[in-house]
Amino acid sequence: MKVQVKYFANIKDLMGKDTEDIKDMNSITVGELWLNLTKDMDIQIKVLYAVNQVYVSKDYKLNDGDEIAFFPPVTGG
């Protein structure tokens, strides 16, 4: 399966990009994907998960074609 990943704010800075496509992926949870993507990094920040533009918990199981976003707690308003 294949998913699209988006990064925002300090997570975008950390990853050095704002989006990437991930192909040939096994069916995993969004939390597992995050750990995979950051396995070589020492990250001490909060991250929130959204799949298809809806907040989900780390146990959310990803599906083919999902739009996944990682970002820190929001600070608008």
Partner: protein
């Protein structure tokens, strides 16, 4: 209901007049309007701030804002609801966010505008980066109990 994400400076009062005239037709059933305006300060905690960049997640932001306002309209039987949120590069005193609700009596518009602001602050995917006298910094949420899926 109207939701607007805007990357230019906006005039909140003109926006209110326009919405009330064009969308609400100056409805004489309106007895109460409650309005909140957030504006950019030139300080935050111990920092002097000379500019700010507001990032958002296009698509998800609009979806959450629409849901937040729709929820308030149903809960409080509002006559109208308007949210305008600025993105991009801002200067001190610039309007950041305008929330306005219209209803027949004051209780419902007071509570609705407050609810919308609190939900917006905790749910809508916006992020502020400040240019300060000590360099750039991403703004941290004030509320330590803010919802998060996980702390890494």
């Amino acid at each position: 209901m109207k939701i607007e994400i805007i990357d230019d400076k906006f005039d909140p009062w003109q926006s209110l007049v326009d919405y009330k005239k064009n969308e609400l037709q100056n409805d004489p059933k309106i007895g109460a309007s409650s309005i909140f305006l957030g504006t950019m300060r030139d300080f935050n905690e111990d920092y002097d701030v000379d500019a700010m960049h507001l990032e958002h997640y296009p698509g998800m932001t609009e979806k959450y804002l629409e849901n937040i306002v729709q929820t308030a309209i149903k809960k409080y039987k509002l006559i109208g609801g308007l949210v305008i949120h600025r993105v991009g590069l801002l200067e001190p005193t610039d309007p950041i966010v305008l929330v306005a609700t219209w209803s027949d009596h004051r209780d419902s518009s007071f509570s609705a505008t407050r609810d919308i602001m609190e939900s917006l602050k905790s749910e809508a995917p916006f992020w502020k980066k400040e240019s300060t006298d000590k360099g750039f910094r991403w703004v941290q949420p004030v509320d330590k109990t803010e919802s998060s899926n996980e702390i890494q």
